[in-house]
């Protein structure tokens, strides 16, 4: 009897890419629900538009590149890209922000590099940064959270705002955008004010929504850790990087620099640490390399926030560290079996 030739492995598959991606998608749910509750329906529109565009763009690009849809499209990775990008966008932004961002992320940052597994940079962050530098005004349309904020808008009002840029006639709501805490920090930094003087307002805003959102993301992160979709190294190292760098700066001059707790809770640090920096394709893969990678992101994010031109530096920090990954991986190879220092010496005959 003849058999077709097959290569190993010959055992049951232990996991699949689609399975990993599904875990991540479920982990995004609590944060997204809380974001909708806090920031209104605009978040939902962002997610729907970004995910839908990303999926269509992936399909189109696969077709153009003459690659089969299965398994590239069915592995759900592109949904994550769109979703993560959407969660970075302002809740009162126009409809074309998620569309343009997703298109750029999937077409340029992912598919033109060769599709999943081949992209050097995190696609969602590339999309976000492109939007940030191209449409700085639209990217600041954050509506206030909760009472008196964008969450007050009804579904139709929010849809009208997102798609037509205006509230339906008769709506009494004044959806004014408002500066985020990080924007305020930026103003202080650029205009020479004192961080300490604005401390109260930062904390009032933070406690209003940032904390809840971060807790929801943490819940998702715990789920991913439990399911083995991510490892602890990068998030922990990134948080340590943020805390260490900001503590150092704060110790030097508390007037000029915000305190560590603010840096940790404001902006995208927790979200980025759990969902973006842990993207396996663009992150470092060795245990030591992951620590270095995460710490680098945290440190760079704080430096960019403190000295740079943009309010939040997490996206830039992630992209910069993406660039360093091949180097990090090469120099942080684990010691191979039998070559660990001292491991073999005990029994060696010589």
């Amino acid at each position: 009897m003849k058999f077709p030739v097959q290569t190993s492995p010959h055992v049951e598959a232990q996991s699949s890419v689609a399975g990993v991606m599904t875990t991540v998608l479920w982990a995004l749910v609590p944060g997204t629900v809380v974001a909708i509750w806090l920031l209104g329906w605009g978040v939902l529109f962002n997610v729907a538009l970004a995910v839908g565009t990303a999926w269509l763009a992936e399909a189109l690009m696969l077709w153009l590149r003459a690659r089969p849809f299965h398994p590239a499209l069915t592995d759900r990775s592109v949904l994550i890209t769109g979703w993560i990008l959407a969660l970075c966008l302002p809740n009162l932004g126009p409809w074309w922000l998620p569309v343009v961002g997703s298109l750029f992320a999937v077409v340029v940052a992912k598919q033109l590099y060769g599709g999943i597994g081949y992209n050097l940079f995190n696609p969602a962050m590339v999309g976000y940064v492109v939007l940030l530098v191209s449409f700085p005004e639209a990217m600041t349309r954050w509506g206030a959270a909760l009472d008196g904020g964008a969450a007050e808008l009804s579904l139709t009002e929010a849809a009208s705002w997102t798609f037509f840029g205006a509230l339906p006639p008769g709506s009494g709501f004044d959806a004014l955008s408002q500066a985020t805490p990080l924007d305020q920090l930026r103003m202080v930094v650029t205009e020479g004010g004192s961080v300490a003087n604005m401390g109260g307002s930062i904390w009032s805003m933070d406690s209003s929504w940032s904390l809840w959102l971060n807790l929801a993301f943490l819940a998702g992160g715990a789920w991913m850790l439990y399911r083995g979709a991510i490892r602890w190294h990068i998030p922990v190292a990134m948080v340590v990087g943020v805390l260490a760098t900001s503590s150092l700066l704060w110790a030097i001059d508390p007037d000029q620099f915000a305190d560590p707790a603010f840096h940790l809770l404001a902006g995208g640090v927790i979200f980025g640490a759990l969902f973006v920096a842990t993207d396996p394709v663009t992150a470092s893969t060795t245990p030591r390399g992951r620590l270095l990678f995460g710490f680098g992101i945290g440190a760079l994010a704080v430096l960019i926030r403190s000295f740079g031109n943009y309010p939040d530096g997490v996206a830039f920090a992630i992209l910069l560290m993406n660039l360093a990954v091949p180097l990090i991986d090469y120099y942080t190879q684990p010691a191979v079996f039998g070559r660990k220092s001292g491991a073999a010496s005990r029994g060696a005959g010589e």
């Binding site: 003849k2 077709p4 290569t7 089969p68 299965h70």
Partner: protein, 196 residues
């Protein structure tokens, strides 16, 4: 303004001096390029490239007098290695040369051999053993498969025989999945059970 110009000129002079010194200090002796090319060639000494042996061909490539795609025994992999070394584009084997798929060795039909020693003269690596009017034989381990002995034989008693390299020389192929599927559409479905 003047300061900037001065600075630029100063830097240019500085770098020029540094580079000049470096060129002297780290000067490489001889012609290592030809050596390195020679190392990549299969050393069959077959002369199919048009040069009398691998070394002359290597020197010609180093001087830019010969193209990298003129070595049939080396095949595609040698051309790729040369392209890598010289940082030029890969090109397929020159059209006037014949692609050599399998490795072959010369075998003398000892019944027919008349002992003329012509093949011994032709062999570039002295791999043929024999004496005038005595039967000749090829030392298998030394033969490079260059075929130079085939032509001179007046009785056509030399055959090029494909080498059986044995189990030890087995090379595992890359899995089929190493090459991306190029197809538009849904793509591969999970494998169906196969009944032989």
């Amino acid at each position: 303004m003047w300061m900037a110009i001065l600075l630029a000129v100063g830097l240019a002079v500085l770098f020029g001096v540094v580079l000049g010194i470096a060129a002297q200090v780290f000067r490489v002796q001889g012609n290592p390029l030809a050596d390195r090319i020679d190392e990549l060639l299969p050393q069959t000494q077959c002369g199919q490239c048009g040069f009398p042996g691998c070394r002359p061909y290597a020197e010609a490539i180093a001087k830019g007098e010969a193209d990298i795609n003129r070595c049939p025994p080396g095949g595609e992999s040698t051309i790729r290695n040369l392209a890598d070394l010289l940082d030029v584009e890969f090109k397929p084997l020159d059209e006037d040369l014949e692609v050599q798929e399998v490795k072959k060795l010369a075998v003398i039909d000892e019944e027919v051999c008349i002992g003329c020693t012509k093949c011994i003269q032709a062999c570039p690596v002295d791999a043929i053993l024999g004496a005038a009017k005595q039967m000749h034989t090829v030392i298998e381990a030394e033969c490079t498969g260059c075929e130079l002995c085939v032509e001179p034989c007046p009785v056509d008693c030399i055959d090029m025989v494909p080498v059986d390299e044995g189990v030890e020389a087995y090379r595992f192929p890359l899995p089929e999945s190493a090459h991306p599927v190029v197809t538009r559409g849904f793509g591969l479905r999970p494998e169906e059970p196969v009944n032989a």
